[in-house]
């Protein structure tokens, strides 16, 4: 038997549940995102929450699981749950499960809590490996795991059961040396090396190049998100916002040798049900006509299909932008049609756009 430790840092505090948490737990269990990604009953009631709180306390007595309530420091309100479950056949192996209350999302609580829990598990339980699994498409969970240092290891088909239905699972592993002690600039942009380019997270020192991209007349004409950028501070703020957006994979594209920023590429607007998203990109004016967009889009597309398990990636561009149309065609994004009055490039006018898309099942592109 082990008594429950309190784990805390500047962001989060992990401790025991209390009876007053049940109303918040029921409300979180009824949240659509919770329902979509967890195994909690759809008709979750106060009785279920009471039973869970009792189980959490008892789990420490029996040693079966280590379950904590997450709270922001100094706040009494329940903000989520964190569990570390030892494998009954292999005492050095455990897996993690977590849930963040809807009102506590976007504050880094779960990432901090997972980091504290894993460090504690390695130190106190002598674990050699901690495993993370989530249903394919649960990006919020995956980014939490990757920020802490979990290494993505693959998709195991039909590996998990959700309310009686088997579902494909993403699996990641964390070994003691993988644990990251501080938040990396971002884990939402896993490093990808390809054909002389390095795709990775934004860095503070990218601000001048980001501003140069934004000041370029072509970018001004077509990019909504960069149009308002005027100063280096704007550029830094733009990068910060990109890093904080959990529902995007946003890469800085660098020359692999000089590591100088030459462009950007990103996946966003995920539809997890349809396993689809949209791709966006831009190239620094000093690095055009060298195939940067072509190579970056190819690498980001491969990541989307192979690592995120997507089935479809759409690409939109303004009708008057033939360079983008050429990139789309050369990277295997088939033209699907014109969407009329569909996109505001930041000038307050709704423009017609070309829609292209590539499917995971499309034949390989021959260059």
């Amino acid at each position: 038997m082990r008594s429950q430790p309190v784990l805390r840092d500047a962001t989060v505090s992990l401790g025991a549940f209390c009876d007053g948490d049940t109303a918040e737990i029921v409300s979180a269990a009824r949240d659509p995102e919770t329902r979509r990604w967890t195994t909690l009953r759809l008709d979750y009631t106060t009785a279920d929450a009471r039973q869970f709180v009792a189980f959490a306390a008892q789990s420490w007595a029996t040693g079966a699981e280590c379950v904590w309530a997450m709270r922001a420091p100094g706040e009494a309100r329940w903000a989520g749950s964190m569990a570390l479950r030892a494998d009954h056949r292999d005492p050095q192996l455990a897996d993690v499960g977590f849930l963040c209350a809807p009102w506590a999302r976007g504050r880094g609580l779960t990432t901090a809590a997972l980091r504290l829990t894993c460090a504690w598990g390695f130190r106190e339980l002598g674990l050699a490996r901690i495993e993370w699994r989530a249903h394919v498409g649960n990006l919020a969970s995956r980014w939490v795991a990757e920020r802490v240092g979990f290494v993505f290891e693959g998709t195991q088909r039909q590996r998990l059961v959700q309310r009686g239905i088997r579902r494909d699972a993403w699996v990641g592993g964390l070994l003691p040396g993988d644990l990251r002690s501080v938040d990396p600039p971002t884990a939402l942009a896993p490093e990808v090396r390809t054909e002389g380019l390095l795709l990775g997270p934004w860095r503070e020192q990218d601000a001048p190049q980001v501003l140069e991209i934004a000041e370029d007349p072509d970018t001004r004409a077509w990019s909504g998100s960069m149009r308002a950028m005027r100063t280096l501070d704007d550029a830094r703020e733009w990068m910060r916002a990109r890093r904080a957006d959990d529902d995007r994979v946003d890469w800085a594209v660098r020359d692999a040798d000089t590591e100088l920023l030459v462009g950007r590429v990103g996946l966003g607007h995920f539809d997890h049900q349809a396993r689809s998203c949209e791709i966006g990109y831009g190239v620094h004016p000093g690095h055009r006509r060298r195939g940067v967009a072509l190579r970056a889009v190819t690498a980001a597309t491969a990541y989307g299909f192979e690592s995120l398990g997507l089935a479809r990636i759409a690409l939109f561009h303004a009708i008057g932008n033939p360079a983008s149309c050429a990139v789309a065609t050369a990277t295997g994004f088939e033209f699907e049609g014109i969407e009329r009055s569909s996109f505001d490039h930041g000038d307050g006018v709704l423009h017609d756009v070309h829609r292209h898309a590539r499917l995971a099942s499309d034949p390989p592109v021959i260059r």
Binding site: L93, A128, R129, E153, G154, R157, Q158, V161, R166, V171
Partner: protein, 181 residues
Amino acid sequence: MDPVELSDSRLLLRLPTQADVDEITLACQDPELQRWIPVPVPYAREHAAQWVGETPSSWAEDQELRWVITERRTDGTMSGPLGAIGLHARDATMREVGFWVAPWARGRGLMTDAGRVACRWGFEELGLGRIEWWANVGNNASRRVAEKLGFQFEGTCRARLLHRGSRVDGWVAGLLPGELT
């Protein structure tokens, strides 16, 4: 569950008995088997006796559903144990397959045939939704068997398996209903 025997035109998968202990002990002396299968080393007769002895309770408690692989000889009699195969419980509709084959029975497709019989039974009679295969990274012979059965390779999990006290990287593959070949 109650133990069952499985067969095809060539093989009979049956429960091990104490009469199998000597041949199992001999097979488990093989260095190649010891390299990849986490059997005790040195492997003594009592290890085999214990493995045979706990088989009925393993079935009764629905843990590992385990058989020895025997082959019909040309004269109609059955061989002794040439290997073993088991389906380990993982969740209500998922099991993990594990197997080994004696050195003197290798190279004749025995393991693939036994795997097909066991996996087909798992899908058809147990209603499994997934059968999982794990092996230490580098166990190509096991991987070839899995791939011949239709298992799809799903990744490498670092330090995932415990092999006589050492942690080793594990290969994982999955077989879903309808994929068995």
